[in-house]
């Protein structure tokens, strides 16, 4: 049985998309957002989410900042950069090209 969270390399796309809608959210919120918006179908695992976030931060697509919450606990909030916006557009069009190609194959076969 395929795991429901196997995002097949589209984790970056999802994270960027979510950040483009909601600026300044922390890792847990991104995770739950993916879960809710996909109707509980997709699930980003913690083990891959954080390395992905850190990688994209180093690539300059997103930037992070520490804030102190009312509870006194610190949280790390992420937001999209200009480079990230460009990257999102590229990823989106790549995704569309791939899905439409896959759909065509499904129709023809």
């Amino acid at each position: 049985m395929p795991k429901p969270d196997s995002l097949q390399g589209s984790l970056d796309l999802l994270v960027l998309k979510i950040l483009s809608r909601r600026p300044r959210v922390h890792g847990y919120a991104i995770m739950t957002a993916i879960q809710e918006m996909s109707g509980e179908v997709l699930r980003a695992e913690e083990g891959s989410l954080y390395p992905a976030l850190h990688r994209m931060e180093e690539a300059g697509w997103i930037r992070a900042e520490w804030i102190t919450k009312d509870t006194g606990r610190r949280a790390r909030l992420y937001e999209l950069t200009a480079a990230g916006r460009k990257q999102l557009a590229a990823e989106e069009s790549r995704w569309r090209a791939v899905t439409s190609a896959v759909n065509r194959v499904l129709r023809m076969a």
């Binding site: 922390h26 890792g27 847990y28 919120a29 995770m31 739950t32 695992e45 913690e46 083990g47 954080y50 390395p51 850190h54 990688r55 931060e57 180093e58 690539a59 300059g60 606990r73 610190r74 949280a75 790390r76």
Partner: protein, 878 residues
């Protein structure tokens, strides 16, 4: 930005890990607040450690991070073994420091390009010729008229520049009483523009400053002189100084960094060539000629043109040599001009020290290799002790490269710490060596900047050294096989074999250093024990000049006045001091025969001079006050042997034969023993002494004063004042003790002997420490075997032999190799030796004995340790 943050994150170390942890914790907290099951959430994260590592690799440069970890670990390793680390660092520091020092000297003197435009297009002109006395020589001096012809001949292919030999001149900015000395060079007016130099202040010369003889009394001073002498005062422009009987006006300060073209002498003042009195003379060779080739011009066509022009000039000039044998003129005219690259300048110091510095560089390199071998052995022994640690690292997944890196980083720590100390050594020692070149009153001045060239050399050397001593131990450590290492080690002998080979290499190099040092020391010893033929004890020489040439009787008056000064025993006067670096010579003719090929050397001396110098009379008499020159002469035994077949020449006569064909007759009234005239090498020269009293007035002489005090210099300032008091036209230009002049003859040999001896001691010490270390290690490693042997009844002598046999055969092999190396390499530096041959038995025996004595001494502690092993303790410990 991103690369920088990854780079920076490497050094944020624990803070980075903490940050990652905190973020993950905050995530878990959030999840729990949302009502998730804490256990399930934690499980979802998996191993926190792995998570952190993965994120860390993303956020920091992985390899740099690993390097940082290794560096920290290596530092802890070094701190753990303070004594051995300190020994390794100090021995490396000494060796690296000596190497860097040697590089600084060689670079400054021989390699560094002059700070001028396109130095690689600069060539120096010299001639190979057979001199009149039959000896072949190369000579880079030119007469100005010849230079002018050559410049015109090649003006489309090259620009020729005339630059005089640097001279130390007397000049004054105020009154005659405040004379000072400065290094001065006559240069072509177009030199500065041709070199692409700009003025720091005022203006530099142009071609129009160098047109008419005597018509351009201007001076450009060097930036260094401006700073030292004038404190960078901008009002220096327009000031004037007196030199000889002329005033010169300072018109400019040259670009910073340019101090002439003679490495070893920093020029203070430049003056146009037209101001030199000899500028119109064809027989005075007082300039060097530099050629700057135009782009695209080959060397050979220019050389051929210069050769033809120079030869035509000399052929024309030789027509006037009526007094010389035709054969020697013909030989002399077979001269050829050649061009040598002069991008690094050209100076006598370069020629004199090129070979010596090369020899010293080889010695320091050998010392460095010995030190490297030491540290390599040390690291190998340590690697043996750490075999288990390495095996453990391999078993938990460390890669081979990672282990190599670990050990190399530790080596780099040693090398770079050593380099830091070495920098201090080099900082201090290079200028110190320079001050020892030349006599103390006239030290060589070499610009020794610590710039990127020196730093680059030091860096490359340090990295090279790291790999030299660190790579083999690193590769060995990484090749560890965990299974066998954890079981207690595999072939323990392979490690020892490598250490023994390194011992042989060390001994070979050490032997070579000792051998060469012995030759240098013996050379210095022989040379400084050369009899000079006179006594320099308590003698002071006062080089004196007069405003205008003065009649001999006035010179007598000054001498007479000096005799009244308390503390003065004897006073005499001569044209120059013996061994003062001056000579005057000519052919002579006996009984009207043709002039001799062999030259006689001349010196004008006053009555009493021969006695003042303690040169014994063989026959005849001293000069009298009434004797004048030309007229009578006193000759040396070498003169009698050369020109009178060894017969007593007193009462006979000879003629001085000048180049122009004049004959001047002298009657010999005295015969004296030989005394060193020009230098203390080579055979005694045939010398004829003439009376100081001549028909002409005299503008320059040297008073010889024997003082009653053992240190004649205490009278120096009094005598300087008294000379001027006796007659105001007289002025002392230079005071030196005669002993100093004798010592100056052996400066290079003293320097070589001293430095070589120092390096020999360093090499011996390092090789001894190395030997001790390896022996000690091998005893430690074999203590079980030794214990068993003793338990079953081996004698102490037997044990000692067993422990040392292998090492001593290595020492023997090394010594033989060193000897072979020495015999083959020593011929490259043969010219630096004096009356010493590499094949002399003592020269071979001394280093051999020293080497073996040191080896014995170094092995004693280990032997004692071996025979003191208590079998019971050792066997029980197992």
């Amino acid at each position: 930005m991103s690369l920088w943050s990854r780079f920076a994150n490497v050094f944020r170390g624990d803070r980075l890990s903490d940050e990652i942890d905190e973020e993950l914790q905050s995530h878990i907290q959030e999840a729990i607040e949302q009502g998730r099951d804490p256990v399930e959430v934690r499980k979802a994260f998996g191993s926190a450690l792995r998570q952190r590592d993965e994120s860390r690799d993303v956020r920091a440069i992985a390899w740099l991070d690993a390097l940082r970890t290794d560096a920290v670990f290596g530092w802890r390793q070094l701190r753990k073994k303070k004594v051995t680390s300190a020994a390794a660092i100090l021995s490396l520091a000494l060796a690296i420091g000596a190497c860097t020092s040697a590089f600084r000297l060689i670079d400054a003197l021989l390699l560094r390009p002059l700070p001028v435009a396109d130095p690689e297009q600069l060539y120096a002109l010299s001639r190979r010729e057979i001199f009149f006395d039959g000896t072949p020589q190369t000579f880079d001096g030119w007469a100005y008229p010849a230079f002018r012809l050559m410049r015109a001949a090649v003006k489309h292919q090259a620009e020729l520049i005339a630059i005089s030999y640097a001279e130390r001149m007397d000049l004054t900015y105020k009154s005659d009483q405040e004379m000072e000395k400065a290094y001065l060079q006559y240069v072509s007016g177009w030199m500065f523009s041709s070199f692409g130099l700009r003025p720091a202040l005022g203006r530099l010369f142009t071609e129009s400053d160098d047109l008419q003889p005597g018509a351009h009394p201007y001076a450009v001073i060097s930036y260094d002189y401006w700073r030292r002498h004038f404190g960078q005062d901008p009002k220096v422009i327009g000031r004037s100084f007196q030199m000889g009987n002329r005033l010169y006006e300072i018109v400019g300060v040259a670009e910073e960094g340019f101090s002439g073209t003679e490495p070893g002498t920093m020029i203070d003042i430049f003056i146009p060539t037209m101001m030199n009195a000899a500028v119109e003379r064809s027989d005075s060779t007082w300039i060097r000629t530099l050629a700057r080739l135009k782009p695209g011009v080959g060397v050979e066509p220019v050389r051929a043109k210069l050769n033809a022009t120079s030869l035509a000039f000399e052929q024309e000039r030789a027509k006037g040599f009526t007094g010389m044998p035709k054969q020697s003129i013909d030989n002399w005219l077979k001269q050829t001009v050649f061009l040598e690259p002069a991008g690094s300048g050209t100076s006598d110091l370069q020629n004199e020290y090129r070979r010596s510095l090369a020899a010293l560089a080889v010695l320091v390199a050998l010392v460095l290799l010995i030190a490297c071998a030491n540290v390599a052995n040390l690291m190998t022994a340590q690697a043996a002790a750490r075999a288990r640690e390495m095996a453990l690292r391999v078993s938990i997944g460390a890669g081979r490269w990672r282990l190599v890196q670990l050990v190399l980083v530790e080596s780099a720590w040693l090398a770079f710490l050593a380099a830091a100390i070495a920098a201090l050594v080099a900082w201090w020692s290079a200028p110190f060596v320079v001050t020892m070149i030349n006599p103390p009153d006239n030290p060589a001045r070499l610009s020794l900047p610590a710039d990127w060239r020196v730093l680059g050399f030091g860096l490359i050397l340090t990295i090279g050294v790291t790999f030299l001593f660190g790579l083999t131990p690193a590769l060995r450590a990484s090749a560890v096989k965990p299974a066998s290492a954890l079981k207690g080690g595999e072939d323990p002998h392979s490690r020892r074999r490598m250490m023994h080979a390194l011992i042989a290499v060390q001994v070979a190099f050490c032997f070579l250093v000792l051998f060469v040092a012995g030759l240098f020391v013996a050379t210095f010893d022989r040379l400084s024990n050369q009899p000079t033929g006179f006594s320099a004890e308590r003698l002071l020489t006062l080089e004196t000049v007069t405003e205008r040439a003065q009649l001999p009787v006035f010179w007598d008056q000054v001498a007479e006045h000096l005799r009244t000064v308390p503390g003065v025993e004897t006073v005499a006067v001569a044209s120059r001091a013996l061994l003062g670096g001056y000579s005057s010579n000519n052919s002579v003719s006996i009984n009207g025969a043709p002039p001799t090929d062999v030259l006689a050397y001349f010196l004008h001396v006053s009555p009493g001079w021969v006695d003042a110098m303690s040169i014994p009379f063989v026959d005849g008499r001293d000069f009298r006050a009434s004797d004048t020159s030309p007229g009578v002469a006193i000759v040396s035994e070498a003169f009698a042997k050369q020109f009178f077949n060894g017969e007593n020449p007193v009462g006979k006569s000879f003629e001085e034969a000048t180049d122009e064909g004049k004959r001047i007759r002298f009657q010999i009234v005295g015969l004296v023993r030989d005394a060193r005239y020009r230098d203390i090498r080579g055979p005694m020269l045939p010398v004829a002494y003439f009376p100081f009293h001549s028909i002409d007035a005299i503008g320059r002489g040297t008073f010889i004063v024997r003082t009653s005090s053992l240190n004649p210099l205490v009278l120096a300032s009094i005598l300087r004042r008294e000379v001027a008091r006796a007659r105001p036209e007289f002025r002392v230009s230079n005071i030196r003790t005669q002993a100093e002049l004798v010592r100056a003859q052996t400066i290079r040999e003293r320097l070589l002997a001293m430095l070589a001896l120092f390096f020999a001691a360093a090499a011996l010490l390092l090789a001894g420490i190395g030997l001790y270390g390896v022996l000690d290690y091998s005893v430690l490693q074999r203590r079980r075997e030794i214990g068993i042997r003793m338990a079953i009844g081996a004698q102490a002598g037997d044990i000692a032999r067993r422990v040392t046999a292998e090492i001593f055969s290595m020492v023997f092999v090394g010594a033989i190799a060193g000897l072979a190396l020495g015999m083959t390499s020593v011929r490259y530096i043969e010219t630096l030796f004096y009356q010493v041959k590499a094949t002399d038995l003592p020269m071979l025996a001394l280093p051999s004995l020293t080497m073996f004595a040191a080896a014995l001494l170094a092995s004693l502690p280990a032997i004692i340790r071996a025979v003191r092993i208590d079998p019971a303790t050792i066997l029980r410990a197992e």
